[in-house]
Structures are given as C-alpha cells and as structure tokens.
Amino acid sequence: MKAARTYLTASALAIGLMSTSALAEELRFTVWSGNEAHLKMLNGIAESFKATHPDVTVKFETIPAADYTQKLTFQIAGGNPPDLGWMMEDAAPTFEKAGVLMDIGPSVKAAEGYDFGDLSQAAMGLWQDGEKVYGIPFSTSPFMIYYNKAMFDEAGLDDPLALAAKGEWNMDKFQEVANKLTEANPGKWGFEFKDGEGYASRVMHALMPPIRAYGGDAWANGECGFDKPEAVAAVTQLHDMVFKDKSIVPPGEQGDYFSGNSAMTINQISRASKMPEAGFEWGIAPLPAGPGGESPVIGQAAIVVFDQGKQKDLAAEFVAHMTNKENVATMAQFFPPARKSVLESDAFINSNKLIPADQMKNLGAAIAAGKVLPSHEKSPQILAAMAPRIDGLWKADANVEESLKAVCAAIQPLL
C-alpha cells in the first residue's frame, strides 16, 4: 500500500515534470489563437510542408493573446525561444531593435515561385529595414464599422453602408446617428469602442481611427501628435459623445455590441465569426471619413523567426512556404492578406461566407489605402506612460486639451 502510494506520487511527479523536449525536426511555432478552425488550417499548411520536407513537423503552441508578447519575452529571455511565432504590430520594433528577430529576406526571396514583389509595400513597411526582412505579415486587417442593421431600421435611419455609398459617412454623421440610436433605444448605446476595451487595453484602437480621420496621428518622426489640433478636435468629439451625448458606452459599463446592446462598434474582420450567434441582422462599413479624408486604420500581425532558435534556417523556409501565394489564399478566409494578387482576386472577395461581396470590396480598398497602427521600439513603456494620463482623460469633467498635453509630456521623452 505504502509502496503503491510512493510509486503513484513519483510517477505523478515524473509526468508533471516532463518538459516539452523538441525532436530534432520539430519546429515550435507560437500563436495566440486557440480557435479550432484556425489551428486546423495551420496544421493543414504544416502538413503540406512535408511535400518538400518529409521529416519536419510543426507544433503550434497557443499562448493566450492578452499575455502573448509578455510570455514570448519570457521564453526568449529565458533561453527557451520558439522557432517561429506570430507577432503583433506594436511589438515588432521592440523585438527588431533588440536583435532577436532573424533576417528572413534571403530565405524567402530565394524560395521557388515566392514572388516577393507581390507583397504590398505598404504592408511590409513595419517589417523591413533596408534590405533586411524581419517578418511577413499574415494578417493585415483594417478596422471596420460593424453595425446592427435592425437597430438602424427601427430608428428609421440610413445604415453606415448606405451612407458610405452616398458619400455622407463622416465623423459628424457618425455622431449624429449614434445620438439618434441612443435616444431610440433607452438603456442601450449608439457605439461601443473596440471590444468594449477602449478605455483600457484597446486605447490606441479607440483613439486612432478618429484622430487619423481628422488628419492627425499618435506620433510621427519622434514628435508626439496627441496635442496637435487635429487630435484634440477628434478626441474632443469622442469625449462629447461619451459624456455629453452619452451615445458611447462609458467607462465601467458593459454595452456589448455582440449581444445587441450597442448599435455600432469598430472591429476587425475576424470578429465576423462571432456574428452568427449574435442573432441580428448586421453589416460592415468603412470607418467614417473626417476633415483629413478617408484614412483606414490597420492592425497587423506577421510571422517572424527567432534568431536564437536552433533551426532558424529551416524555420525561415517554413515562413516562405506558409506565405506563398497558395497558402496566403487559404489563410485569407480568416486573415486579410498582404499579397496584391490575392487581394485583387475574386476568390478573396468571395472568400468569407458571412460577408457579402460588396462589403468585402470595401475591406480590400481599406487594406490598399490603410495605414498600420502606430508602433515604436519602446511601445510597452509608451503605453504604460500613456495609461495614467488617458485614465485622467476619460472623466466627465476632464479638459481634453490639457489631458492630451499631459499624454504628450509623458511620452515625448520616450519617442
């Protein structure tokens, strides 16, 4: 009895302590998606790599998105880096400058039939430094307006897609319809920031679309842009909508668009997969234009190879495989591509079962014209320095211009 118990404890220990030791020909690939459909597709691509590399398997490892960059840092700093991984746009410069990303330019350019020039230059901007290539974007996803068509119809309003077709979809109109929708639906709101997280983890996602629509930016050439007149005007409008009109879900409240509590929200195409279970009629439309014209905002993610990895050349070959024309077309069902040939194809326009072709065309246009979210080598510090000042901004009695000046004062030394 005693021996049995000792044995059990010992084997429990052994099972638990077994580390994930890699085989010689296994590539470890970190992703932040645990979605079954995503993983199935990724595993399919890995399977097709066997045609040229029969002994190579790829193990996709999910790290929860909220902590992804942090955990990746621990793995790299801890001497246990994956071979490849997804990387978000805001983390790219930090990792690039730290020298932990491999230059995969030579590998991908040498790959047979790769056609490097087919990748949109605008999309590659963040991942290239001269001749060096640090990543290939697999998702170049513009921010779009999601709207609850039923709520617009009930309020007797033109929906954003119709307004956009008429050329009337701008920031003023946006404020106006948000207001009317709020009045028509007591207890609900006209607009919700991206994922309802606009005051915390998605600050940049909340602020950038209007600021860019007004012709401003977060920063440019080492200079803070939040206190420039364009940004101040844009944020003032948002602030009014939250606290005067009360048409945007305010801080500390839950007005989830996907459960029908807000008429509009901003999000990326990947979220369309949540719509069927939402149970109302819906559509997607471009972001409202502003005094600065139309200026789509893009969130981006790329595949990178880690320089410390033991099989980095093999990993680079896999990147070339994964981002060739065929596989990019496959991935386009979930992730908007950066390859011009795929973007322009009919197959892409019809790739998403949930979204009609005319709306997909808007998406394609946004990818072509869009600008990636701001990023910086010191992104973590900048975001942390911004956070307390942004907290001060989102109060009813806040002075928007002063708050934005405080944001700039806090981040300027870091830029």
């Binding site: 580390s19 790290i63 929860p64 990746l72 700093a77 801890g78 001497g79 246990n80 839950q254």
Partner: protein
C-alpha cells in the same frame, strides 16, 4: 430589566453586528458561484444570486478553452511535491536546530531569520537568470525549488524547531539506548510525536504553493504547464478579450473544493495557521 435580559440583548446586538461584518467575507463566494452559472449578459445585468438561466455550459467550456484539467492537475501535484519536500527538509533542519549542539548554530539562526523579512520580489530577478542557467524555464522545477528553499521553507523550519524543543528528552534517550542513530531517532521518535506540527506545516505549505502566483507568471509560458492562479488570470479568447463567465466558472472550480475541505477541517486548518504565527 434583569441582568439576564441585558445579557441577552447585549449578545444579540453583538451577533447582529458580527453578521453584518460577515457580509463582505461571505458574499464574494456566493456571488462567484452564482456568476459561474450565468451568461455574460446576466453577469452584468441586474444582480441576483439565483441565475435566471442556469448556464451549465460554462463549466464544460472551461475545459475546452484551456487545458484546464491538466492545469488543475499541475497545481495539485506541485503543491503535493512542495509539501512533501518541505516536510522532510524542514523537519530535518528543525530537529538539528532544536536538539543538537553544534558550532555556528546561533549565526545560522540569525541568517535564516533574516530571510523571513525579505519579500520574494527582491530576489525574483536573479532567480529568473538562475533558473534559466539551470535550463529549467517553463518547467515546474522552479515552482517546487523556490518555495521549498525560500522564506516559506525557513518559516516551516522554525515551526518544526519550536515543536521539537518542547518534546520530552527522555524518549529520545530511550531510543538511543535501543541503538537508534540520530536519523533513526528523528524518524522513529521525533517525527511520530510531532504530528500536529507536521500537519500544520503540510497545510500551510500546500495552500502556499496552491496560491502561488508571481513564480508561475514568470517561469511558465505554455498553457499545459500553467497552474490554476495563472490560468484563472488568463481566461481570454483568441483576441485577448476576457471571457468573464468562463473565468468565474473556472474560479469557482478552483476555489470551491478547497473551501469544502476547509469547512470540513476548519479547526485543524485554523490551528495550523495559529501555530505558524505564534512562533514569530
């Protein structure tokens, strides 16, 4: 009013006051369990401890979103391993400090006492590099080694020492007469007589490991290796958004079993903590 009536009124008032004070101690648990059965919309809707729609699905989805069963197992076996290691090591050292005379004992005690004062945040960065150097990143070894040998282990050592000091000497001498070695005395005589202290160390150590957060946060990066507190703080979907109802269902699953054990053995558990504090 009679003396007796005054007494009763006095008692009632006290009890009522205590009941009111007890609300913030009890309500979070009740709310947690109830929210674990709710949909996200209902969690943020009108507060009611009885869910309108019982969403048992939450407790199933917890296991599909993360390898939650595996994480649960990790927490249990790590806590058991830490407890076993701490019991052996601290009772050995505690015995020597209480029962044996050797040069340097005083200095050693002083050294060890000072460790009790030092927050683990102070040494976490060098330990990060140490564990990296040992090649133990993303394994469970640091979660076993650091608590066993850190300030908590020292605390356990002192607790054991305190208990051994109070044991009657005669029994040990009898053991010696029977030809037992020091190790034999420790194992055959001292330990069996120290069940209360061993139980206290075991209970406190198990809970200490079970609730550990900073170390898992820093040393673990694969989902299958996570422990419960880390998994709980990490219930986010593919886009990094919190899955409120799943998080609360998972929290319920993590907290309730411990709570049940506590309710059954509350006297023993509370006494263990009392013992740990008294030794200073």
């Amino acid at each position: 009013m009679t003396q007796r009536q005054i007494r009763i009124i006095y008692r009632t008032c006290w009890t009522l006051a205590l009941l009111i004070v007890a609300i913030p101690f009890v309500f979070p648990f009740l709310w947690m369990v109830s929210a674990g059965f709710k949909s996200v919309t209902e969690i943020f809707g009108a507060p009611s401890l009885i869910p309108r729609v019982w969403r048992f699905q939450n407790f199933v989805e917890v296991f599909t979103y993360q390898p939650f069963a595996r994480q649960y197992f990790n927490s249990i076996y790590i806590a058991l391993a830490v407890t076993a290691a701490t019991l052996v090591i601290s009772s050995l050292a505690g015995y020597a400090l209480a029962r044996m005379r050797f040069a340097g004992a005083g200095l050693l005690m002083l050294f060890l006492v000072s460790a009790l004062m030092v927050p683990e945040e102070v040494t976490i960065i060098p330990n990060f590099f140490l564990i990296k150097w040992m090649g133990l990143m993303d394994t469970h070894w640091p979660l076993i080694l650091l608590p066993t040998f850190g300030p908590h282990g020292v605390m356990a050592t002192f607790l054991m020492r305190q208990y051994f000091l109070a044991l009657p000497k005669e029994l040990e001498e009898a053991g010696r007469m029977d030809g037992l070695s020091r190790l034999g005395i420790w194992w055959r005589i001292a330990l069996p007589m120290s069940r209360p202290a061993l139980a206290a160390v075991a209970i406190i150590t198990f809970l200490f490991s079970w609730n550990l957060f900073l170390e898992p946060l820093i040393f673990l990066s694969s989902l299958e290796m996570f422990t419960l507190p880390l998994a709980l703080s990490n219930f986010t979907d593919t886009y990094g958004l919190p899955l409120w109802n799943l998080q609360l269902a998972a929290t319920t699953l993590a907290v309730v079993p411990i709570l049940i054990v506590y309710l059954i053995a509350q006297r023993q558990i509370i006494e263990s903590f009392a013992l740990s504090g008294v030794k200073g």
